[in-house]
Symmetry: C2
Amino acid sequence: MVTLEDVAKQAGVSLATASRVLNGSTRQVGAALRARVERAADELGYRANIAAQTLARGAGNVIGIVVHDLTDPYFAALADGAMRTAAGERLLVMVGTTHRDPEQEIAYVATLHAQRVRAVLLAGSRVADERVTARLAAELAAYQASGGRVACVGQDLLGVDTVAPANRDGAAALARSLAGLGHTRFAVLAGPPHLMTAADRCAGFVTAVRDLGLPAPRVVHGPFDRDGGYTAAQETGDATCVFAVNDVMAVGALAAYRERGIRVPDDVSVAGFDDIVTLRDQVPSLTTVRLPLKDMGARALELALSGGDSRVVENVPGEVVLRESVKPLP
Amino acid sequence: MVTLEDVAKQAGVSLATASRVLNGSTRQVGAALRARVERAADELGYRANIAAQTLARGAGNVIGIVVHDLTDPYFAALADGAMRTAAGERLLVMVGTTHRDPEQEIAYVATLHAQRVRAVLLAGSRVADERVTARLAAELAAYQASGGRVACVGQDLLGVDTVAPANRDGAAALARSLAGLGHTRFAVLAGPPHLMTAADRCAGFVTAVRDLGLPAPRVVHGPFDRDGGYTAAQETGDATCVFAVNDVMAVGALAAYRERGIRVPDDVSVAGFDDIVTLRDQVPSLTTVRLPLKDMGARALELALSGGDSRVVENVPGEVVLRESVKPLP
DNA sequence: GGCATACTGGAAATCGCTTTCCGGGAGGTC
DNA sequence: GACCTCCCGGAAAGCGATTTCCAGTATGCC
């Protein structure tokens, strides 16, 4: 393993000079020595030891992103957006997946803290469990106290910079659009009750329906994924319009209806949320609420990095996109 | 920032003892002191500085994964598989995305080398450019020379442990299956000529068709993504069966045909490759060649970590999955 | 020519932690 | 009771960089 000392020796200069040449510094080094050092480094195949640099400099160039599940296109898009920003700032990215286990999320924050990463980005819904949230908040506070920066995509519950999608408003707008098409009997594939993103979308939808003076939707809970949508779709009763709280569940619902010979949108209209790119070629194309996921990821990281003095909460509106999977009631 | 020294002082013990208690060691520490140290650490909110640990121990607990594009479900699945293995070994993961730029890939390897990561996993097709490949190989060799471990998912061109999907054989088997349904006029949406995964799949397919004594397929090149498939599908001429070299392209092709009123599979059969989970609910459901992507990612990381003496190349067979998007010719 | 000023190069302290080595006390054996 | 082990605690030497000083030389200005 080649160290800076080896290079310095080979070049016949001091450690300080070698460091200044190779790893950047405000100080200049004469052309002759500079060349000698560079040649030596090249010959020896020197690579700076970043752990040592981090220790010496007291600051690293790594950030952390914590997501629930990378294979979920929602998180992939968020992470991708953030990673582009990171790349622009010449930062490396450590990605952790919690697989929806809040304990893992806490553990990951602790680990990233130990790594002294510059910033931590929490992408993914909070859960409605005050004890867990409090512990996570405490862990984040400890991290921030030692100079770390934190941002979060989701609900503003942690007391950190947050990019908050307008889950309630988006779902409400969707409900009004669908009601505008003449639907009155709704069902909601609501996902897990404790997952706040799911709960907010469900609540926004239900509230809007009620405010329109329509009968309360039937709410079916279940997992937040494709199979959850598939299963929940078995229990939508006589609803003419079904709202799945995310696109992936909506796709599961479409599959369930297809199998049972129920035509979408002729027999039942289906809508989702997120406007996942990978799912745009679904047939019938999915009515949904578009969220600018990549931008949100990028923006969240910018917030964390910018290190503003005061906390920022950005509200990101969703845009209702009507497509083939819904149909006006005659 | 709380250091181990602070903890030791507060507990009234030496640095060595504190280290042994908090950060693991083969040596035992008496119960009384152990408790004192733990209490002090807790009170002070101590977090080990991993950069310092890495430096002192001479080895970190981080691995690196380099992918082309996280939002591509192919890479997401690969990465997810690897990350599960990593989590099992209590390793952290740094993810880099190259966005298909080979230079970025090389740069990333250099960076991960500098980070002294334990292993690097290269997920993603090689390109047919000997100069680039040679430079990447050199970079990897340097990394390995200093103790790093490398594995790769894709083509065995780098001289490192490799998990190689049977792209040629899979495509050939698919060709035979499709020919078995009576098709004789094929087209291939071949992706970029220089991308080896694309090229191998295309070649496997074309060769198998020729070996069957059928006319050579029309080969249409283009980007390796959804839009590439969409565009290339405009030029499939009178083919009755179209093979897109990956599922994402196949979905693009389905969209193109749909828009033009060409029915799949009635007017043209379409097949893809990979069997991407997110795309399984596509209508019509996609005939494809299934690759166990998560396992491949996991396996590749295991190879890298296992540190076997001799190099391993594992061939992963694909399984032809016939679904609705193809139809026998009458 | 003399003096202040800027640069450049090097020695050495430092970052926070691990680990070897050493010393002292407890326990076991003959 | 002497001797040998075994264990546990601490002092100190690294790990591989950065960076602060300090010194020496070249430069600018009068």
